[in-house]
């Protein structure tokens, strides 16, 4: 699989001179299978430049996997170029709520007054799917979704191709439900989903100093993600969902602290930046 980051910012798009290196676009990650199967993780503003790229080349079905429906993970969908083409086959996957389907929930955002056009009226052939509990196949990729701890219905994803795996767990506060250092693995949100992954892309919104003032907001601190990665025995970690108030220098410091805490180097832990790519 080839993995590329198109947006790594959390909560709010944050362009400007202080965020040039990691980027200001909100969550969007492209995953390409060896057979060119295309999965897009989240539809934050980072999906806009990806859409421009896709417009320049022919493509098969597009599968967008939404972790949840907070705006920073959805707001790019309306300006994703392929949805304005009748030739596009677009599948939207995401969590249902305890009482509503994904379709019912997503159309609340994708309609006036929040968006000028109804989802049903876009030219692309759009299908909506509640993320199932069992793994499913998308081209040559196997996708698994599981609920994770965040405010409201939220899932994380694990994508596998052969014996390689990528876990995408953004907007995640596992420390809210368990002591990450001592809890049994089955009681740690997201652990099974990310266990042994070749690459884990994980929320690291707060410094350890900031976290106490944000408990329950649904995000992780530097120590949380270091402990989580260590217990999940992942190979590589990309720190993701950077706080919109954090500059590139702030993120650099956070990356260093996570490495120190986890005891790994640059080869295994980096901050996710727009344009960051890896073969998994």
């Amino acid at each position: 699989m080839r993995v590329r980051v198109w947006g790594a910012r959390g909560s709010l798009a944050s362009p400007g001179p202080d965020t040039v290196r990691y980027g200001g676009n909100t969550s969007c990650v492209e995953v390409r299978g060896a057979d060119d199967t295309l999965v897009i993780l989240d539809a934050g503003t980072g999906i806009r430049p990806l859409g421009v790229r896709l417009r320049e080349r022919s493509h098969g079905p597009i599968h967008v996997m939404l972790t949840h429906l907070h705006v920073d993970h959805l707001e790019g969908l309306g300006i994703f170029a392929p949805i304005w083409s009748a030739d596009t086959e677009l599948h939207l996957w995401g969590p249902s709520s305890p009482v509503s389907s994904l379709e019912e929930r997503i159309t609340r955002y994708f309609s006036p007054p929040l968006f000028p056009v109804h989802l049903a009226d876009v030219p692309a052939n759009v299908s909506l799917h509640d993320a199932p509990e069992e793994p499913w196949e998308v081209g040559g990729l196997t996708v698994r979704a599981a609920p994770i701890l965040h405010a409201g219905p939220t899932v994380g994803y694990r994508i596998e191709e052969g014996d390689r795996s990528v876990a995408y767990i953004t907007d995640h506060e596992p420390a809210l439900g368990a002591d990450l250092e001592t809890a049994a693995e089955e009681w740690i949100s997201g652990h099974a989903l990310s266990f042994g992954a070749d690459l884990l892309i994980h929320d690291t919104q707060y410094t350890d100093g900031e976290y106490p003032n944000h408990i329950g907001w649904g995000h992780s601190s530097e120590s949380h993600v270091a402990t989580f990665a260590e217990r999940a025995k992942v190979d590589r970690l990309w720190l993701f969902h950077h706080d919109p108030m954090h500059s590139d220098a702030d993120v650099d410091r956070m990356v260093r602290r996570v490495r120190e805490r986890w005891g790994v180097g640059e080869d295994r832990c980096v901050g996710a930046a727009e344009g960051l790519e890896a073969e998994v």
Binding site: P147, I148, G177, E186
Partner: protein, 131 residues
């Protein structure tokens, strides 16, 4: 290892912070957790990772009604919550693992992640003065 239901993870965390006794079971009725307040009422400590099925926990504490008759699992509030998928309340007497008899009030209710997906049940209980 498979992750527990997110609702159960949150329920356990919630219970671990409560001074009210809480007892959590999975959809099959297997005990998955009870908190420190429950330990005091039940007279024993919670043992992590020890699966205790419904048949065992429903008899371990010798639940009895007000006439001293044994109360079967299906008539315990937690049994009702599991089998009938509805809340239930009852006053019973138990004998803790420490050998101390106690009168308790129990309220139990099922936990639904979706309308058709029961992920377990929770009982809260407290000692009452003798009637």
């Amino acid at each position: 290892m498979t992750q527990r239901s997110l609702l159960m993870i949150m329920a356990r965390d919630f219970a671990s912070r409560l001074a009210t006794a809480v007892f959590l079971v999975d959809p099959d009725g297997t005990l998955v957790y009870f908190n420190e307040a429950a330990e005091q009422v039940l007279g024993q400590a919670f043992v992590e990772g020890k699966a205790v099925d419904a048949r065992e926990w429903s008899t371990t504490f010798s639940p009895e009604d007000e006439h001293g008759e044994p109360v079967a699992l299906a008539s315990l509030p937690l049994g009702v919550a599991l089998t009938e998928r509805q809340p239930a309340h009852r006053a019973i007497r138990i004998t803790g693992a420490d050998g101390v008899p106690r009168g308790i009030e129990v309220t139990a209710f099922p936990l639904f992640a979706h309308a058709d997906e029961c992920v377990g049940a929770v009982a809260i209980f407290w000692e009452h003065t003798e009637r």
